[in-house]
């Protein structure tokens, strides 16, 4: 992973994190928004322009790849590089959670 990717994506925004997290399986933009809305109880809403822009940027940076098109909807999936970035983020967030006493409350 080159430094530029690390600088841009670690740490990443909540929007970017959820998009990458959802794309562990093949999905299109709107279905990601719906899944994230459900996962967060309506607290994280990703709109059309932000979704399109983030997907394009991640595709350009090689974090996700275009799989196929279905009724003009583009379906994407995470790449090996994307998974590597996601794992880094998950480790960082777990550490945060641990350090604020998260595990004690479980």
């Amino acid at each position: 992973m080159d430094d530029r990717i690390k600088r841009v994506y670690v740490p990443m925004s909540e929007t970017a994190f959820y998009i990458l997290f959802c794309l562990r399986r093949e999905m299109h933009g709107y279905s990601i928004t719906q899944t994230v809305k459900e996962m967060t109880g309506g607290e994280v809403i990703i709109t059309a322009g932000t979704m399109y822009g983030t997907l394009s940027k991640m595709e350009k940076d090689g974090l996700i790849s275009f799989v196929r098109e279905e009724e003009k909807r583009k379906l994407y999936r995470i790449t090996a590089l994307g998974q590597e970035v996601l794992d880094l983020e998950i480790r960082r967030i777990r550490r945060l959670y641990r350090n604020i006493g998260g595990e004690k409350n479980e």
Binding site: G29, I46, A48, G49, T50, R73
Partner: protein, 191 residues
Amino acid sequence: MSEKNIKKTYKWFWDFDYDKQEKYYTKMHAKGWALKKQEREGTAFEQRFEKCEPANVVYKVGYNAVKTGRGSFIKMFEDYGWEYCGEMNDFYCFRKSADGASAEELDIFSDDESRLNMSKKAVTVWLPMLTMCTFCILIPQTVSILGDTERGRADLTALILHWAVYVWGYIGVFVSSRRHKKQIKKSWDQK
């Protein structure tokens, strides 16, 4: 449709004035004039409207430079309930009824990073073009008119007007990009 049901207005919108366009179309729709759909038509200074019932409809402008992605770009917005209503120079116009919709549903951007990106794109699309025209058209024209001993008053007037448009463009770029940043900051302060 009879001419009575069509209204044309003549306003100049630079691409980076997309926020002003959004407000203008939204205001017109509330007065009973819906922006007429015109694919790959229309100019920056002529807007066509169709008579409609006055309604609370929000207009938004999105940007997509990837020509092959045009269909999927529009489809993405349609999935989120936006109706496509025209495009110009890679800027696409969409609208949605505001009745019963939440603030998030009426925005096309949900974070500041993407709002700033939109502003940057609108400015970076224009600056190189403006600069190129300045060096390839405006400056040679200025040199030729000023060097012409038989130049008339009309030539000078044309030259001054030409300069005025460019200066307006350059100032517009900077004023708009500052305005966009202010709006982003304001929306952040309100949260």
